[in-house]
Each structure stands twice: as C-alpha cells, then as structure tokens.
C-alpha cells in the first residue's frame, strides 16, 4: 500500500552521516520519536509493579512512611516550628517535588545503562531515555498528588487560586531534575562510579532541600538554601498547596531559575557531546 505512494522521506533532504554531523537532525528526530518516549515510560511503569503484590500502592506507601518519619524527626525531635499548618502536610507538600526530583534523577542515572541493549542495537535520540525517566517520576508524583489534595482538604485547607500555579512549579522541578539527570546519565555511561555517587547526592539533597522544614522561619539560612534550585520549587509547592499559609521567597525563585537554566543547558551540552560515543563505551 504505502510503498506505492512516494514515501515522504524521499522528498525530504537526504540524510548525511558524518563525524560530528548528527546535530542537524537531532531535534527533528526527537520530535519524530516522541511516541517512543511514551512507550518507554509506559513500559517502566508497567513493569515496575508487575510482580509486586501491592502494585502501584507502593507509589503511596513509600512517601507516606517518609512523611511520618520526617514529621517525627523535624517536627517532634528537632521541634522545628510548623506555623499554622499541620506538620505532616508541610512535609507531604515538600515531598511531592522532592520525590519527583529524586525519582527522575536516580531513574535517569541508571536509565542508559539499563537500556544498554537498546543503545547498542537501535538508533533513536538518546535524550529520550533520561526524558522517559522524568516522565515516570512525574506520573508517580501525580499519584501522590491525588492523595495529597484530599488530605489537605480534610485538614481544613481549602484550595485557592494558587493551586492553578502548581503546574508551573511542577515544570520547574522537572527541569531541575532533567538538568541534573542529564549530567548524571552521561557521567554514568562513562564512569560507572556515578552509580554510587548518585544515591549519595540524593541523601545529601534531602537535607539541603527544605523537605522536612520551613525556610521562612530560618531567615539566616534562607539565602544559602536558595542556591539549591529545588528550594524554590519546594516552597512553591507549599505555597500553592497550602493556600498561602507559607511565605514565598520571590528573590529565591530568580536565583533558582538562573541556576536551573545553567544546569539544564550545561547538562544538554554535556549529554550531546558524549552521546555520540555512548554506543562505543556502554
């Protein structure tokens, strides 16, 4: 059927393969392979809970336990002030972007190595692999969000117009995660050491990101914490979800966006320069 009609590709300009020449088709190819992105994410989600008795419930159990743990450590033991917000909700709102970041970051880090059989056998823009890790993390976060919203309403926090800005902060978190994820992905292909370094980064990140505490009660530390691009995202999530009961630090957001841009552009650049050799070193 379709072989009788002149195929589209023939009408397009020829494909030229040359050293250092992959650049031109790249973004076009990325768009062409957008369905593969969906399929890879779908595969990872589907496979992940396939033989687990609790299935997708794990996406909720884990953060629930973490919420209790952080509430206990920061709220009860360290006696950090929670303001007029129930401490568990404060933690839960912080965990949402953190889980998104952590999931995407660790997923991206291992993604190329665990898809090595694809990398060495088929062509597609390699960027799709870490991108699909980000998509998977996003879906996990949405499941968690579906729990968090009723939990907020139940505690008497009515949704406000601020909730409409949540997608922006979600996007921001995804960009931070992608930026960091691209670095870790490309570095892991070359140096497997980063498989050990990545969990370490996440452990430290959990504490330098205000997941378990509020920054507006820590004026001395606020500017330092703002250097972590995730800080603003966590604050943004809280501000949206908790209806403005926490303060939002606008200057911090500017710093965060600048750092995110650098991280992302740098990550893209590094990923693209090393990508050509992935199949040779993987």
């Amino acid at each position: 059927m379709s072989h009788l009609t002149p195929p589209l590709a023939r009408l397009q300009q020829p494909l030229i393969i040359e050293a250092g020449r992959t650049e031109r088709h790249y973004w076009h190819d990325l768009w062409r392979y957008r369905e593969l992105l969906g399929f890879l994410a779908w595969r990872d989600i589907k496979v992940r809970y396939k033989q687990a008795a609790l299935g997708a419930a794990w996406a909720i159990v884990q953060p629930a336990v973490q919420t209790l743990l952080l509430t206990f450590v920061f709220g009860k033991l360290a006696k950090m002030p929670g303001g007029d917000v129930p401490y568990p909700l404060l933690v839960l709102a912080g965990l949402l972007p953190w889980q998104l970041f952590a999931g995407a970051f660790s997923g991206a880090g291992s993604s190329l190595v665990s898809n090595a059989h694809l990398i060495s056998k088929v062509y597609f823009p390699r960027l799709i692999v870490p991108l699909s890790a980000v998509v998977v993390a996003l879906i996990d976060m949405l499941i968690l969000l579906a729990i968090a919203l009723p939990a907020c309403a139940f505690s008497g926090i009515t949704p406000t117009w601020r909730l409409l800005l949540l997608p922006l902060f979600t996007l921001g978190t995804m960009l931070v995660a992608l930026g960091a994820g691209l670095w870790i992905t490309a570095l892991t292909v070359k140096y497997r050491d980063f498989r050990f370094i990545a969990p370490f980064i996440l452990q430290i990140g959990m504490f330098v990101t205000p997941v378990g505490y509020r920054t507006d009660f820590l004026p001395n530390w606020r500017d330092w914490l703002a250097l972590n691009p995730l800080t603003s995202m966590v604050e943004g999530f809280r501000w949206c979800l908790l209806g403005g009961r926490t303060e939002f630090y606008a200057q911090g957001l500017c710093v965060s966006l600048a750092i995110t841009t650098l991280l992302l552009l740098g990550g893209l650049w590094y990923f693209r320069t090393t990508e050509r050799r992935f199949a040779d070193v993987i």
Partner: protein, 398 residues
C-alpha cells in the same frame, strides 16, 4: 531511479583500545592525572592502541538493490551496519542516504519479558521507529505472521524461544522503510522459520522494490536473496559486484583447497589432496590426489563425494572401472579425477579418498577436504539440500 540511495565515501571508524590499567574508571582517570602531572612518563601512551575497524570504504547502492555484505569475523561488517544505522558515528568519511532506514541488528530488540505479546508488539514497533498508528494498522498481519495468536496476552517470558523469535521477526518484517538493514538475524529459529524469513525478505526486496542490506555468513542464504554483494576484508572493501562473484571470492580467501598428509614412508600413502579452485569456479570438479610409495605401484584411487551432513552423493574408483583406465606403475605421482560439469546444488561438500593398487588397500582419508561449491544455476527459491538432495540433474519440463 539512477540516483544512488546510499552513497558511502571514504568511510572509516577508529576505535581506541585501552590496555589493562587505563579503563573508564574515574579512579584511573584521577590516577592518570596525577601520573601525567608529576611523572611525565610515557606509560599511558604505551597502553593505548588505535584500531581501524573500517578504513576508506567507498560504495554506492542503487534503489531496489539487495546487497549482501560478507566477510570474516572482524572484517568490519557489524561496524559498517552500526554506522549506517546511526548507532555509532564514523571517524572519517561521509554517508548520504536518501530514504528512511530501519535496521534489524538483532531480533527482538527491546522486548521485555514481563510484558505480554501484544504489549511487546507495540513497544518493539516503536523502538524500531514505527508510529502507533502504523503498528495498529499492521497489528493483525503481524500476529498472523508470528503464529502466536493464542498467547498474545501471556508475558513473553513464558514463551518458548521459537515463539519469541517468531513474534520478534514478525514485528520487524512489517516495517516499511525504503532501506532495510538486516544483520545475521536468520541465524536463529528452526529451519522452517528461517525459510519463512528468507521468503519474507525476498518479498520485501523483489515484491516491494525496497533496498536491503543483508549481512550473513550463510552463503546460500546470500545467494538466494541478494543480487549484488560487498566483500569486506580487515576493514577494507576488497570487492563489490555480482553476488556470485563476491561469494566465490569470499570462499576463496578462506578455504584450504589443499591438504597435505604425513605418513610413514615404509608403505604406499597419500601425500596431497587438492581441489582445483579455478575449475570449481567454472563449474567443474577436478581432484588431484598425490601419492608416494617405497616400491612402484599401479595407483588405484577411490573418491567419494558427500554432503556436509555426511550423506554420500557419488563415488568412483579405479578398481571398479577395471581396465578402462590403467596408469603405469610408479613410486610417486598425481592422479587426476575430473567431473565435468559438476551437477550439484550450491553448498558445502566433503571429499573422502583412498589409495590402493589393483589388489591391496594402502591408505584411506575420510572427509579429507571440505569445499564450497557455488553452482552456475541460480534458483532464487531453492529449498535446502537436506530436502531435495544435493544432485542438480538437468530436469526437462513439458
């Protein structure tokens, strides 16, 4: 249509081999840094070696050509395919491709054991570059070709290896690119399935007029499917042309056409066995058997031709023909046996020989020499020798 669909110019691919210590580990990188800064020794350089997997390769492929790529292990076939399918980048040179490429370097790339057959069809299709709409359109055809309808919703980890391969090939076979690159995938599956694959490739090539690049060690498959061929030797293109010529020159590069035997000198024995390569290429079999004896004998030589499975095809010896040919007695010499034309299908054959005089047997060498014969008769859809026999008698049809 005269425009080349693939044009390869000056293609080269260099790999750098790191010997022992210099691996990709960060530790070694850091150690190397210190090493170079403080010691300035040459050890680092000495452990690196450049290796050209491909060097200065030029060829063009016309639309609709079915090209066989052939060469020994390590000749650069896989590297060439990887570059053509954009998995890795060339070091030098340039390739111009006018069309959509789909490459099949492995059957079932990206199959996931936990997913069902149905899910894997979609996943695998997407990985090979099909859109969801295309896969949906072809879904029924793919399922029919694979013959696994009943197990579509079973995770493929429970499939038998045959079912797995069938499903995987079915997806790949329904790609519709202008250029299809296939690597050795036919090495899997049972005989019947291999035939089905070859048939499908045939259909793709001749029926739909697509361009196919096909790598295989299986010379009879190559002869069946391809019209032209490319021979690679140690990373260089050593010949391009008609597939029969290419397969012949490939076989000539590697096969030993001569066997030398050592035996005690106190009794008559066979010294050499040789198949005339030029005659074989021309379609004749000429076997030269050398002998030596302590005392003059009237040499009687027996020859048996058999298939690569050991099934005898035809044999003859000097005793059986009696006085038709009786050479003079000698202490050494060469007996020449000729079969012209050699009425066999293309394939691999063995020669067994023995030596005697009119009364006593002296020496015997079973399956002493293996040779590959490429018949002048070219049958595009020839069944295998195991089915129709090795003999290619001249059938007349009315």
């Amino acid at each position: 249509m005269s425009d080349a669909i693939i044009k390869v110019e000056g293609l080269g691919k260099r790999y750098t081999l790191h010997h022992q210590a210099r691996s990709g580990l960060l530790r070694d990188r850091i150690a190397g840094l210190f090493h170079n800064t403080f010691q300035r020794t040459k050890t680092a350089a000495a452990t690196e070696e450049e290796f050209w997997a491909l060097r200065d390769v030029n060829f063009t492929v016309n639309p609709g050509d079915v090209v066989g790529i052939i060469g020994r292990n390590g000749a650069g076939k896989s590297t060439l395919l990887k570059i053509l399918s954009r998995i890795t980048e060339p070091t030098t040179g340039r390739i111009t491709i006018n069309g959509r490429v789909a490459s099949l370097l492995e059957v079932g790339t990206g199959f996931h054991g936990e997913l069902s057959g149905r899910e894997n069809i979609f996943l695998n299709g997407a990985i090979l570059g099909m859109t969801r709409a295309e896969i949906k359109k072809k879904f029924d055809e793919i399922v029919a070709f694979s013959e696994v309808e009943k197990f579509l919703d079973t995770p493929v980890k429970h499939y038998s290896s045959g079912m797995y391969v069938r499903l995987a090939f079915a997806v790949a076979a329904h790609l519709e690119p202008e250029i299809l690159i296939v690597d050795e995938v036919l090495a899997v599956g049972d005989q019947e399935f291999q035939k089905k694959c070859l048939g499908k490739m045939h259909e793709v090539a001749s029926g739909q007029g697509r361009t196919v690049l096909f790598v295989s060690h299986n010379t009879s498959a190559l002869l069946n499917v391809c019209d032209t061929g490319i021979l690679l030797e140690q990373g260089r293109l050593s010949a391009q042309g008609d597939i029969k010529t290419i397969v012949n020159s490939y076989l000539e590069t590697g096969l030993q056409r001569t066997q030398v035997f050592s035996a005690s000198a106190d009794r008559p024995h066979i010294t050499t066995l040789e198949v005339d390569a030029d005659a074989l290429a021309a379609g004749d079999l000429i076997v030269n058997v050398g002998f030596r004896s302590p005392c003059p004998i009237v040499p009687v030589v027996g020859i048996v031709l058999s298939t690569d499975k050991g099934q005898p095809i035809s044999g003859c010896n000097g005793r059986m023909i009696g006085s038709a040919w009786r050479p003079p007695a000698a202490t050494e010499g060469v007996v020449k046996a000729r079969l012209s034309p050699l009425l066999l299908h293309s394939g691999v054959y063995f020669i067994s020989i023995w030596l005697s005089d009119p009364a006593t047997d002296y020496d015997e060498r079973r399956n002493a020499l293996q040779f590959t014969f490429v018949s002048k008769n070219f049958y595009p859809q020839c069944p295998s020798i195991d089915e129709i026999g090795a003999a290619d008698f001249a059938w007349k049809w009315e």
